[in-house]
Symmetry: C2
Subunit: 314 residues, 2 copies
Amino acid sequence: MNRVKELFGIKYPIIQGGMLWCSGWRLASAVSNAGGLGLIGSASMYPDVLDEHITKCKKATDKPFGVNMALLYPKIEEHIDVIIKQEVKIVFTSAGNPAKYTSVLKEKGIKVVHVVPNLRFAEKAVNVGVDAIVVEGFEAGGHNGKDEITTICLIPLVKKEINIPIIAAGGIGSGEAILAAFALGAEGVQIGSRFAASKESSAHINFKKAIVNAVENDTILTLKELAPVRLLKNPFYTKIFDAYKKGATPEELKILLGRGRAKKGIFEGDLIEGELEIGQVSAQINEIKSVQEIMEELTEGFKRVKNNLNNFDF
Amino acid sequence: MNRVKELFGIKYPIIQGGMLWCSGWRLASAVSNAGGLGLIGSASMYPDVLDEHITKCKKATDKPFGVNMALLYPKIEEHIDVIIKQEVKIVFTSAGNPAKYTSVLKEKGIKVVHVVPNLRFAEKAVNVGVDAIVVEGFEAGGHNGKDEITTICLIPLVKKEINIPIIAAGGIGSGEAILAAFALGAEGVQIGSRFAASKESSAHINFKKAIVNAVENDTILTLKELAPVRLLKNPFYTKIFDAYKKGATPEELKILLGRGRAKKGIFEGDLIEGELEIGQVSAQINEIKSVQEIMEELTEGFKRVKNNLNNFDF
């Protein structure tokens, strides 16, 4: 029995992260068609755009899919209206407090999963009644917690205290890492970076190539005073670095960050001025592949390493 | 076949980290007697003290054990003389460049293992002929690299390029985490924090209790401008934090750090002024146990989770 597969009615307990500017209907439906759970990333969409993506996703797959909502999004209630109107069955919430909207969604029969970066927030999410949690380590791309707790440390800690299904995120881009996450106590995984660099991702080709070219120390978790974010070190990051060296205040950092940087980098492919949100696992990504190829690699890798481990005994 | 067991002639591929002020002959011999590989941590020992610990360790166990050497230690050549005179068979080197001493040790028939925090240093270590590498993630306690690469991201990256045995370190304190490390490509693990809090550790009881009391966000990797170190956040760390906020120079940080802080904290139990080096996994450590109990927990945990995983298939 695997509770993540049962909860969503999917073949593989592999969830594709709902990443802004990457996860449109094309990516989400491809992942769902390949047996995982695709998520539309609504944080980069106006309500009418989200509505359109959901409609297209329904046409592209008859499998379950969901929507990721960043709870700090200013038009969140309009997003919720779209989700309810469209009868979306699964919602992942992140970047905010799940207390307010979890019951609203659950009353409509929607499965709700919340993303947390530590045990304290995991316990809060359980208390407001979410169906599962995504537990995301320090190595994950994009917005993250301030505590810097890594996946290998965080999953067992949460597992010990929490009984609802745990979906591990952060540093997972291979079948080997999926098996590691399961060993630590997860029943599913959420994978971002690997799918951000897929053919079906709506990210700009420049961004996908930047992921492929990234090496081990090319990402950093920064801007902790605003909202911590892991990104590729590019000339825009150098400006952040220099600002920190000069003792910039949060207000100055906010001005430097400005608006629309993630769109500029991820969607428009501006590798100089854009904010290139991606995980540490990007160093392991060496090719832009289709979702189908990625899913096969993940499931085959899992089986292979599991068989290898069976030859080892303590 | 497990190359780590074969290399050292041990029953379990579990290495106890050679931690300063924790890893004397008592801890090292207990781990070796329990089937792992005990390491004497020489970084906190004068050459004559190291000599004495090796002599006592030989008396306490007839199993293989080793010595950890921090290559930046000022009297390193005297340590090497002691190790050669005592016919120690296994040396782990860390915190420095292995180019100079690896061949010296290997000519004496000593197995040499080097600790690295990234792929670049792993490749350098292989090039100078080490027998295995410890690959240590960001979550590890004590001195560490600047790149912040976590265990789950780092092990697969190194595994892909390196053919000698990989011993994973950082965030490993349970059988579950050992299995995760093996899934990622390791053939052995090095465990520090768990053994630092063991009955046989020579650390002060105050320090052991501080490990037991630590929660998820109680450690931090800091002092990156000097030598990055992961430690418990205590009043001494608050001073570091305040110094950073005021824009302290590396020279000012060095003065603040001063000398003998690790001894003060770990060995003398001064939780206010001491430097309390420990890993993020401390949040999972809830009891001071004997080495024998810890080893049983680790091996039983590994078997249990491996059996559980066998019930799951993709």
